[in-house]
């Protein structure tokens, strides 16, 4: 499957350094149309303002966590089918299962590498198409 390198992607993390790392890794993978948000609430606003093809979100953020953002996305008819990857240090089974039950498309545990990021994005976008 050919993946559009111009696919609009929203990355969400409260660490600006982490946003920068993910943005650079995405650019190296081939994605250049990347927007950023530093919490779930501002991410949700952006998602409702502009059509995105993928969300890559951290979990631990305020005022809205990544899980709450995921739940809000899945509850919104216009966003419900948006591919959503959680990238987080939360690696306990109950957390992974909570994200899965909330409808996460895939789950990457930090620290991660470019190959993992590429593989999950490809998998998620292939399933979504």
């Amino acid at each position: 499957m050919k993946i559009d390198p111009n696919l609009p992607i929203l990355i969400v993390d409260d660490y600006r350094t982490m946003l920068r790392i993910i943005r650079n890794l995405l650019r190296q993978i081939g994605f250049t149309n990347v927007d950023e948000a530093t919490d779930g609430a501002s991410a949700l606003t952006k998602l409702r303002e502009k059509p995105y093809g993928l969300v890559i979100s951290d979990w631990n953020m305020q005022p809205m966590t990544g899980l709450e953002l995921l739940q809000a996305v899945r509850a919104d008819p216009k966003l419900a089918h948006l591919p959503f990857i959680m990238v987080t240090a939360e690696s306990k089974t109950e957390n992974v299962l909570a994200a899965k039950e909330a409808g996460v498309s895939n789950y990457i545990v930090k620290p991660f590498n470019a190959d993992t990021l590429r593989a999950k994005i490809t998998s998620v976008l292939t399933k979504a198409s």
């Binding site: 190296q28 939360e90 545990v109």
Partner: protein
């Protein structure tokens, strides 16, 4: 051993005996009853006295332990933990977080600069450099993980601080700071952390998580 209670019991029976005629056939029975009453009361008093002594000893031991604990807590200068050590720890942790942020930013600046210089470089060479830059980006994950581990430490220290405050209150000393009054910058670091990064063996690996997703 004759005690107050058995004496009183004996006097009650003596009063009954005094009312009896000297030739009364009930006298031997009453005299026997007096002996039994006195014996019983003496026995009861001995038992109560023994229990009192045991309780007294235990209370003395408890009081000694409390006094020792108080002396030991005072010796470690609990007020200094709150007023000097904890703020120092909070300040140092805040500084570590700031240094990590700056250092990672510098590393990313350098990587992005290297990538920009690759324009015009033959693709094979550029790709080799890019691969190494990718490894640096990947390694910079440490910043986020370290930050979250620091948040965990801050939470633990805040918990210790709260316990010390509670201990001071029990010992009758007024804590210098109220709960939740830690350095705002450090407190902000501790916010929003769910469980954070796990120590090896405590969390799921990426492969195990992939298996959960089928």
């Amino acid at each position: 051993m004759t005690s107050e209670m058995s004496e009183l019991g004996g006097r009650v029976v003596d009063a009954i005996l005094a009312a009896e005629p000297q030739d009364s056939p009930r006298r031997p029975l009453l005299e026997e009853a007096r002996r039994i009453v006195v014996d019983l009361l003496e026995s009861f008093e001995r038992a109560v006295s023994s229990e009192q002594r045991r309780l007294r000893a235990e209370l003395d031991a408890l009081a000694g332990m409390i006094a020792t604990m108080k002396r030991e807590v005072e010796a470690i200068r609990p007020e200094e933990i709150e007023t000097r050590h904890m703020p120092t720890v909070n300040g140092e942790i805040g500084a570590i977080a700031a240094h990590l942020e700056t250092a990672t930013g510098d590393i990313l600046d350098a990587c992005e600069s290297i990538e920009r210089t690759l324009e015009g470089v033959p693709e094979a060479q550029a790709e080799a450099v890019r691969e190494q830059v990718t490894r640096i980006y990947e390694a910079c994950n440490f910043h986020d993980i370290s930050g979250q581990r620091i948040r965990k430490i801050v939470k633990t220290l805040e918990n210790v601080e709260e316990r010390i405050s509670a201990l001071l209150a029990v010992l009758g000393q007024q804590p210098r700071r109220q709960r939740g009054e830690s350095d705002p910058a450090v407190a902000a670091l501790a916010n929003s952390l769910l469980e954070g990064p796990q120590l090896p063996g405590n969390g799921r690996s990426q492969d195990e998580i992939d298996a959960l997703f089928g």
